[in-house]
Subunit: 335 residues, 2 copies
């Protein structure tokens, strides 16, 4: 089934959406909010699934579903922990800063605790305080878990994945290095993220989902020009089972925890950094990677970071070229 | 007024507590949970204040208030961001690891995004996975804000402080250094924190509250022996107004955001590290500091980190020696 939260109140209003994202119906009688559904998943999910079936067969009252009416599926969440599972991305962006990458990054997952109290909606503008901040997008896949016990194994963790969605993990590049050097992690460099209009249960993903990875291209564009279409199932050094197990090593995770994959990134066939789309490569899911490769190829980065008026779009299509999660599409606005 | 959340459900049940913490009454008719109250503070707070007055005068139905029935005031929160405002503490614990401290730490606040999806109750056991983790307490003051706009000034930020409480920011010392060196901040090294039974509005603090600092000793003990009683209003390099402004520089903060002070720590009169309680000093609010000073004084740390069966207690008394927030009192249990 496919779920969304229409804007309204701090937690939105849960709706069940048709598979093709054209229609939806309110789910108030079952669960007023997605957080409520996740808090009571075992009891609530079967009822939502029945309703989803009726939406698809149009045997219940439906209304036209519009992605721009959506908040993020969880407009605010009790946990947003973002991995960095495409180690290729980490290596590239560190190279851009002239920083080496420890060998342990290939075996010990990176994860940071993100701010989760106020997500942007999938069509909300990204507020830009100062162009010098180096505003960047990061296209990622994310999962939402139910209650995960402390010390869960990577294998058992897979069964706690209840929903899958996309995310734009907005990043202020110029603030990253200073915060990393302080050792306390990202805070000011990671303003509010935005998630796809729709979160889907893993069974909606068919063969593309192996229980812990989603093997489809993530399509990212800026002002209509493709930035990248790397496959989210390729070069994912740590799958979602491993990321959840890492997160739950010393504490339990509560229902509604969002775990992100980190910026989706594929290597070139020769193992080196992939080429930009304009040069026939699969491109990137953030500007920082493209700039790094530009610097490697030509001696200097060319693509600017985002400025007021730019529009970013992040989407994923199934094998029939239908949108799965709807599109994150955000303009950049000075504030 | 003084507010607490009795255990029950994921968000607890809001009660209004008498000033002396002996009696309480349910607040369901006004606000079922503390998060609800914070989400609607302007409308709800005056009603809660009226009820608090009736509790103190016993003109409403009250029941016996017991601290061990409490969850943390917010059993789960949408944001827990912990500062490190007592720079003295940072300098000492870094010295213990043989790490220098950048001069900028005196002017640019440190803050990390903490896990907020599952707090321990004030009398809940602290689960200990492995003694090698180096389990430590950190005694701190914390505030809860209402909605804070992006870019708020430190002065204006003070008006967004709605509640004050204490926190035990549980820390696994052995995991800190590895996580800091990865640059992504604390995650596994910071398992669930616990907060005091009661959160109070600033007006309950009288002269001890200057709008951004709480000038009273924080009493911390292990197995009944005093670890420290440093004054939370002394050597606080960044006050809560500054910490909130730092947190809100690039994003708004939503109602129910918890901002921590970091481990309360006082320097000695000569500006150096303070002495242990046993040597006539004000002591410390975490074991790591005591161990650092022991190493400086005798060549090696003496005090062990926490082990199964240990009991930690964190409390603050007003000038009449009455408890303000109730006590965090937690035993350590192997899991």
């Amino acid at each position: 089934m496919k779920l969304a939260s229409l804007k309204g109140g701090r937690d939105g209003r849960l709706v069940v959406v048709s598979r093709d994202l054209t229609h939806a119906t309110h789910a108030d009688d079952i669960a007023p909010t997605l957080q409520f559904a996740l808090d009571n998943w075992e009891r609530v999910a079967p009822k939502l699934a029945t309703l989803a079936d009726r939406v698809d067969r149009e045997t219940t009252t439906v209304f036209r579903f519009r992605e721009h009416d959506c908040a993020s599926p969880l407009p605010r969440a009790f946990q947003w922990a973002d991995g960095s599972a495409y180690v290729n991305h980490v290596e590239l962006v560190r190279r851009a800063r002239g920083a080496d990458m420890p060998e342990s990054f290939w075996t010990d997952p990176l994860i940071y605790q993100g701010g989760s109290d106020a997500f942007l909606g999938p069509r909300d503008a990204i507020p830009l305080g100062d162009e010098k901040y180096g505003l960047d997008l990061e296209g990622e896949v994310a999962v939402i878990t139910d209650d995960v016990p402390i010390g869960v194994t990577a294998e058992a963790a897979r069964r706690h994945i209840r929903l899958v969605m996309l995310v734009n993990d907005v990043t202020l590049r110029s603030l990253v290095q200073g915060e990393m050097s302080k050792g306390f992690g990202f805070y000011q460099s990671k303003p509010s993220s935005a998630f796809s209009p729709v979160a889907v249960t893993p069974d909606e993903l068919g063969d593309a989902w192996d229980g812990a990875k989603l093997s489809l291209p993530l399509l990212t564009s800026i002002n209509g020009a493709a930035l990248g279409h790397p496959n989210a199932g390729v070069d994912m050094t740590f799958d979602f089972g491993q990321l959840i197990a890492h997160a739950a090593r010393t504490r339990p995770l509560s229902a509604g925890t969002i775990i992100g994959s980190g910026t989706v990134s594929n290597r070139a066939a020769d193992g080196g950094p992939g080429l930009p789309v304009a040069k026939g490569g699969v491109g990137y899911s953030c500007i920082a990677e493209q700039r790094t490769v530009e610097a490697l190829l030509t001696g200097a980065p060319v693509t600017p970071f985002l400025k007021a008026g730019d529009v970013v779009r992040i989407e994923m299509l199934d094998k029939n070229r239908h949108t799965i999660f709807g599109a994150i599409e955000q303009s950049v606005e000075s504030r």
